[in-house]
Symmetry: C2
Subunit: 454 residues, 2 copies
């Protein structure tokens, strides 16, 4: 909406230059925390200017702004804050945001900071940090409003009024029994719509959908999406409430998971949670890309060896070589399509184990329908370039086989990985291409040797 | 959580067989609408059984269940409902869900159904259907709670109590002036936390973030994600409130947009909104995939021609052909990585125009760092297979050029498309691979001719 850089930066620079800090403080009050965070991540301001801006914010807003900042900018800002400012900021942060920050800071710094936190906040943070990075536990916030089923609507609303500042959402309230086990859920909508003396047990939703702290965070995202929830409760193995995941966390999770799948499909190491590729150092970038590139290059020994094996065929009919890229590229293209289709359908839940058999049969049929026009076009191109009907025939027939084969490999390789509990997205387009090349070249030169070399 | 197929299907079949419909009705009350929708999309039930189950649902639940169904299942179910049942169902649906259904139904059927709707609902539906498919207008719901700034908190809460059933969310309430223009927003949280006689103007958030009906729905998604909103208001060019987009719509939008980008990156036509690839007929599937495959195959005329041009070099040193796949595949792999990185970063907003120059310079440096180890590994492989230091040198040097070139093409092609307002994801990995192949082969054989053919 607002072009922050063009509109605000010159104004703020002006305020700083003229030392009108009172005016600047008022000016900042008109901005949303997310926009202030955007300002603080611009390179237009020097670090001391950023620290100055940050100090002008009201305490609540400052905490919010800080939580919205990217880790790099958080770290830079912390260097300019005093020890007491730092501690007060950390104490005010939501436990999940604080855990995210601690996750990135050097462990020595974390140890020191942890010691300075209040025992309660320290415990919260350590608990969160102990869950695996992709788990629900790591992403949850432990600050939840909970009530008992015997409370009345008025009592609950009073409790909400008192606690509203400490919790992340007041729209979903969880109902616990005496052992702190989750037995129900009541939303603010039902509370507002019910008479004040109604008992919670009469309006609560029993057995709400939940996740466990050890579950993959993708599971929480899927359930929130399916059931259109504002939040989902997180429980331990005894069904005791540990925290919640909110829908705004899920928006981040979904974006991360889609990025992860895309990176893997392009044969790159998946980004860490909230890691931004273009903020990495050149060496860190290389580290994400080089292992797959080198591995796949080594695998090309196979394609080179196949070609070497057919040395004599190649020497006899050099024009066969003209169509190697056409054949391998088309195989790669068909395989990339197939692998993308299946990986995405598995990720969104469009298909699952039960439908797999039918899907595969169906797709194999489709691949024949794809193969026929491609092999006709291939025939025409090969004839135009080589002026040999024989070569054109072999190219065309090889294309037919390659298309069907590539589609099958693109479909089956991700399913094979899944069977061994490996993320299906690992079967990237480049991997499929490499596998399919070897099969395609074998087919092409076998056919050529058979039909042309007599 | 619940394995619907294994646990529920046998029970329900039993109820139907024993004609215990009263029991079945009670049984269904324990299920969430989304789970009933899952049941109705299973092939375990015959269409008449599905219609029977559907008729047993309470009216509110039935509407919700119907809205959750995939279009194919909606259409099948409608065939078993009477005309009056159909109309009553359509009248109760949310306008956005109804517009989605009408969008898919044959236009003749839509015309007839529209005539039977109440004038008010008809107008709502026609208005929504007139917005472009990817726009905010198409995805919004027009049923919104609006209040004026002079109302008190108690008055607003009373209004909420009366209207709660008709609107999609009561968590965000929009404040309009006398001309129905949007001037503020107040959430249920502030209402509950404020004394009953507080005026809305004293607690409302002024100038809330909004979108226009013509905007791309991706914009609504980005703003809801950035500002952690439950809903975003949709206004016309005069700032009059038309409807809202809610966060659960955004979860669907984000999934669709990620799928769209992945499909395009794999050189396939993007799916329509909420279209599921594996529900399409084989011919529809072929239609999504064949245009790109044929186009790219035709483009291979270029790679074949390049190779033909170097006919003599190839005849003289046949072993050069052994490394064609290695060279083209590595180029394709590097290009796929680069295009995926840039397309995803543009989609998530990680980079924008202002940072582009720096990003490109940075990545070109990275590509040199990538190229060196790859060219060393290439040298070793080429020497092992060809036993010729000369060939190995040419392969290695060509790899160096190809890696840097491929990375540059992968980065720049999507940016070039963006410049012409074409979705950057159109520059798919297969397209990059094809372009890079031609450049790579030219380099490889030019080097070979220069150094080896004397």
């Amino acid at each position: 909406m607002l072009d922050i850089k063009r509109v605000l930066v010159p104004d703020i620079k002006e305020f700083i230059r003229e030392k009108e800090l009172g005016q600047l403080k008022e000016f900042l009050k008109y901005l949303k925390p997310q926009d202030i965070a955007d300002l603080l991540s611009l390179e237009d301001f020097e670090p001391p200017e950023k620290a100055l801006l940050f100090r002008l914010l009201d305490k609540d807003i400052a905490t919010h702004v800080f939580s919205e900042l990217h880790f790099d900018d958080q770290e830079k800002l912390l260097k300019y804050l005093s020890s007491s400012e730092t501690i007060s900021l950390l104490e005010d942060m939501d436990p999940d945001d604080r855990a995210k920050l601690f996750d990135e800071l050097p462990s020595e710094v974390v140890k020191q900071l942890l010691l300075k936190l209040s025992p309660e906040e320290r415990e919260d943070t350590v608990t969160l940090l102990n869950y695996p990075p992709d788990s629900v536990g790591r992403a949850m916030t432990p600050d939840v409003l909970d009530v008992t089923e015997d409370m009345s609507v008025d009592e609950v609303i009073n409790k909400i009024r008192k606690a509203a500042k400490e919790v992340e959402t007041i729209y979903d309230i969880y109902v616990l029994d005496k052992q702190k086990k989750l037995i129900g859920k009541v939303d603010l909508k039902s509370l507002v719509l019910s008479p004040g003396d109604t008992k919670i047990k009469d309006i609560m939703e029993k057995d709400p959908v939940y996740v466990r702290a050890q579950d993959d965070r993708e599971k929480a995202a899927k359930l929130i999406k399916k059931y259109d929830l504002i939040s989902i409760p997180v429980v331990d193995s005894e069904n005791k409430l540990l925290g919640i995941i909110t829908v705004d966390d899920v928006l981040d999770i979904m974006e991360d998971e889609a990025t992860e799948d895309m990176y893997k499909l392009a044969a790159m190491e998946a980004p860490e949670i909230e890691e931004e590729y273009f903020r990495l150092s050149p060496l860190e970038r290389v580290k994400k890309r080089i292992p797959w590139l080198v591995g796949l290059l080594i695998a090309e020994i196979a394609s080179s060896s196949v070609l070497k094996k057919f040395d004599q065929t190649l020497s006899a009919i050099v024009s066969l070589a003209f169509f190697i890229p056409m054949l391998t590229d088309t195989g790669g293209n068909v395989g990339s399509q197939a692998v993308t289709l299946i990986v995405r359908a598995l990720a969104t839940g469009e298909i699952d184990e039960k439908k797999l058999g039918k899907v595969i049969l169906n797709e194999i049929f489709t691949s024949f329908v794809l193969a026929i026009p491609l092999s006709i076009v291939g025939f025409i191109i090969a004839f135009l370039v080589s002026s040999s009907l024989h070569v054109a025939f072999v190219v065309s027939f090889a294309l037919l086989v390659v298309v069907v084969l590539s589609n099958a490999v693109g479909l089956l390789l991700p399913l094979f990985f899944r069977l061994f509990k490996i993320d299906p997205a690992v079967s990237s387009s480049p991997l499929i291409t490499t596998v399919v090349d070897i099969l395609g070249l074998l087919t092409y030169f076998s056919l050529a040797t058979l039909f042309l070399l007599k």
